[in-house]
């Protein structure tokens, strides 16, 4: 006589065996690319970062030695300090601009709003290098409009790329480039809110401003947190814009201006691949810590809302 339990168990064991590898097979195309182009280079870079090689010496294993050197390297630390300052100033401006644009566009119902949405988004569609080159020309005292503008009031135009002003010059480019993208994210989140909530608020006597700040903003706080994390990571890895502006910066963008530029120069100009890997990983550690601090700090507040 057959044991009913055995009959039942047999297919279930087979299922348990098959299910994992079928699943893996489906993610294999992605998985292979993920492993080959992301995990493997990371592992290799980490491996490189554990060794040190001077120009005149052989490669020796130095363990954490490179990391100790990195976190006491004034060039690296000054780069980190720059991107942190940049993030602290940039992110609030960027968030305020994109939030304001999204709230206005959400409230508008005219045909103008579609055009405005596109116009604000266009800078993001322009490749970063092209956009930066364009700003480089606009900032130029020779070709840019500033010289003519300041001539009207009999003043000489400021050198925006001088070492004192470059911070603001870069800030302007990055806000211009990314505000539209963040605006779209916030706008999409706003469109996802059920309109009946507004109706209820209006019945309760809320005006447009109260709806905007008491209903809309709290309800899209998770989208705001998302773009904050994007902006934080992007800013700490700042590279493209200063790299493009470097040839016209009259020396104010040095080889250790941001950590990423430092890593790039170390590897590809000074042939120090090992130390460059260490710098990259050290930057990764800093980014991780920064994002973790942010998520930890914002956990309670967002937890209450979602």
């Amino acid at each position: 006589m057959t044991n009913p339990a055995a009959v039942l168990r047999a297919p279930s064991r087979r299922r348990n065996l098959r299910r994992p590898w079928i699943g893996w097979l489906f993610i294999a195309p992605f998985g292979v690319i993920f492993l080959v182009f992301l995990v493997a280079p990371l592992v290799y870079a980490f491996y490189l970062s554990l060794f040190s090689k001077g120009l005149a010496t052989g490669t020796i294993f130095s363990g954490a030695g490179n990391y100790v050197k990195a976190f006491t390297d004034p060039e690296f630390l000054s780069g980190i300090w720059f991107v942190i300052r940049f993030a602290v100033i940039l992110i609030p401006i960027q968030m305020a601009v994109s939030l304001a644009a999204a709230l206005v566009l959400d409230a508008l119902t005219t045909r103008l709003s579609r055009f405005a949405r596109l116009a604000i988004f266009v800078p993001y569609a322009i490749p970063a290098v092209v956009g930066t080159l364009m700003w480089g020309f606009l900032y130029s005292p020779t070709f840019g409009p500033l010289t003519d503008l300041f001539k009207v009031v009999n003043q000489s135009a400021p050198e925006i790329l001088s070492s004192g002003n470059i911070f603001g010059g870069l800030l302007n480019i990055v806000v211009w480039q990314w505000a539209g993208y963040y605006m779209i994210i916030i706008y999409a989140a706003l469109r996802g809110i059920d309109p009946s909530i507004y109706e209820a608020a209006r019945i309760d006597g809320a005006g447009p401003r109260q709806i905007a700040f008491r209903i809309k903003v709290p309800m899209i706080s998770s989208a705001m947190a998302l773009i904050l994390v994007f902006a934080l990571i992007g800013t700490l890895q700042f590279f493209t814009e200063p790299q493009v502006l470097r040839p016209i910066s009259n020396g104010s963008i040095t080889s250790s201006f941001t950590p990423n530029i430092y890593a790039f120069d170390l590897a590809f100009r000074f042939s120090q691949f090992n130390y460059a890997s260490t710098i990259s990983f050290s930057l990764g550690i800093v980014v991780f810590i920064a994002v973790y601090i942010f998520l930890f700090a914002s956990r309670k507040r967002r937890g209450g809302l979602s």
Binding site: S140, F270, S271
Partner: protein
């Protein structure tokens, strides 16, 4: 981009339960047979996808260089004339290289050049050093500026050409040009193009303000003051992004920065803050302070625009300048600009010193499979009369080959940029022949990066010229020690 991949990966990996539930629901209701068919299909489709992705690899070479002497440097940008001959891959960025390679291939049955442009200067070096670190991917012959040659020798990237017949062509070059690419008895590259320095100036501006052409640096400073007092333009430019230029000017006043031989690569002598160099640094700081010269970065549209519209009366530059400026659009037509060339101002007119800025060479890489053949290309590319003439006609190179330098045709050529002045005979050929050569360090790019910082501090006045060179001496000594050199 990386962030995007990472976040999508996280998204995909963080929902294993969802996909598992879906697939179990999907498979549970079906007969074993169907399950087999389905999984088979999945295998096939996944395999097909992978195959498609694999097809994207850049291995599909267009050049068809199956019998290439060195295969893995990418495909050729030129057409191969003699398909049976072995090929040598070359990286170079001369603007007229395409024409020259065609000339070379048509005139050679024994070897063919497979050329590609891997970027200009730093871009190419970045790729080249990556290829060296990887042990594969470098071309057979690579175009390098002389200043980076010792650095690549130290990375075991270059072949000693004295073992591959470099002496055959030694007589074609000035002693200085040959010294730039040699270390002791070894030769690591073949010179092609040089940059003997001179001063080009705007004769129209000089006439307008009644200035005579300065022959010493003191006269240069006096002329600058005269220009400023008369409300004229800047005399010149001290840009922080031309450390090679500043190095040449300090060398002119007796700086012997590096004591280094590739045969003894662990030892280096560094002397950047001698009195002569300090005098040069203080001299330029003084000009900057008095507002007699501008402090713009060079090689960008702003600076070229300034040269074209008369913001500068002189451009202390090298033999490639007229070609470069013509190419960049600073032409002499239309805007009344009248450029002339004059010898570089001197510190001691009794003992004039000639210096060099820029210039390029061909070197054979250690990854070349047939090193003799690659050396042949390094020696013979840009060496025939026809090829050299094209370089001269198109103003792309200032040839270092004596075949050209000694020819009357080259000497007597009226240069269009200088309104017909025979600048080669008057200025550049004598400058090249008087050039005594330079010993470069094996970490030129790092040195230039640090020198740029010194130049910035000279410009903004945060340090005196002398102080900034003292600091530079210390920085470079520390760097050399940290990199494992014994500092002499």
């Amino acid at each position: 981009m990386v962030t995007f991949i990472a976040s999508s990966a996280v998204r995909l990996l963080s929902h294993p339960t969802e996909s598992a539930t879906a697939s179990s629901r999907f498979f549970f209701r079906r007969e074993p047979f169907t399950v087999k068919t389905k999984s088979l299909l999945a295998v096939v489709s996944a395999g097909a996808l992978l195959a498609t992705l694999a097809g994207c690899s850049p291995d599909v070479s267009a050049g068809g260089s199956t019998d290439s002497a060195g295969g893995d440097a990418g495909s050729c940008s030129n057409t191969i004339v003699n398909k049976d001959a072995p090929q040598v891959s070359v990286w170079a960025w001369y603007p007229n290289i395409n024409t020259v390679v065609d000339m070379f291939n048509k005139s050679h049955d024994d070897v063919q050049v497979c050329w590609s442009n891997a970027g200009q200067g730093a871009d190419e070096y970045a790729k080249f050093s990556t290829a060296i670190a990887a042990g594969t991917g470098a071309p057979d012959v690579v175009m390098l500026e002389a200043e980076v040659v010792p650095g690549f020798i130290l990375q075991d990237a270059l072949v000693d050409l004295s073992e591959h017949g470099a002496d055959d062509v030694k007589a074609n070059f000035s002693a200085g040009a040959w010294k730039d690419v040699s270390s002791g008895d070894s030769v690591y590259a073949i010179p092609v193009d040089g940059g003997p320095m001179a001063m080009i100036y705007r004769a129209d501006i000089f006439t307008k303000y009644g200035i005579t052409v300065p022959t010493t640096w003191d006269e240069y400073a006096a002329a600058a003051q005269q220009l400023k007092d008369a409300g004229g333009p800047f005399m010149g430019d001290f840009g922080s992004n031309v450390p090679a230029w500043f190095t040449a000017l300090m060398t002119q006043n007796g700086q012997k920065a590096w004591d280094y031989e590739s045969a003894d690569p662990q030892k280096i002598g560094i002397d950047l803050n001698d009195d002569g160099s300090k005098k040069v640094a203080d001299y330029w700081q003084d000009l900057v302070k008095k507002g007699l010269v501008d402090t713009k970065d060079q090689f960008n549209t702003d600076y070229i625009g300034g040269l074209a519209n008369g913001s500068y009366a002189t451009y202390v530059s090298a033999a490639w300048a007229p070609g470069y400026l013509t190419g960049a659009g600073a032409s002499t037509e239309g805007d009344g600009a009248e450029w002339k060339a004059a010898p570089l101002p001197q510190w001691d007119p009794a003992n004039p010193v000639s210096v060099n800025w820029g210039g390029s060479t061909f070197a054979v890489t250690t990854q070349a499979k047939d090193k003799d053949l690659a050396a042949t290309v390094a020696k013979e590319l840009y060496a025939s009369d026809e090829e050299l003439q094209d370089g001269v006609d198109t103003q792309t190179i200032f040839p270092l080959n004596q075949k050209m330098l000694a020819s009357d045709a080259f000497a007597d050529t009226p240069v269009k940029f200088f309104n017909g002045q025979t600048a080669n005979k008057d200025v550049y050929i004598p400058a090249e022949n008087a050039y005594e050569g330079y010993t470069y360090s094996p970490f030129t790019t790092y040195y230039y990066s640090e020198l740029t910082k010194s130049m910035v501090s000279i410009i903004d006045g945060s340090k005196s010229g002398s102080e900034s060179l003292d600091d530079l001496q210390k920085t470079m000594t520390d760097y050399a020690k940290a990199q494992g050199f014994t500092v002499k």
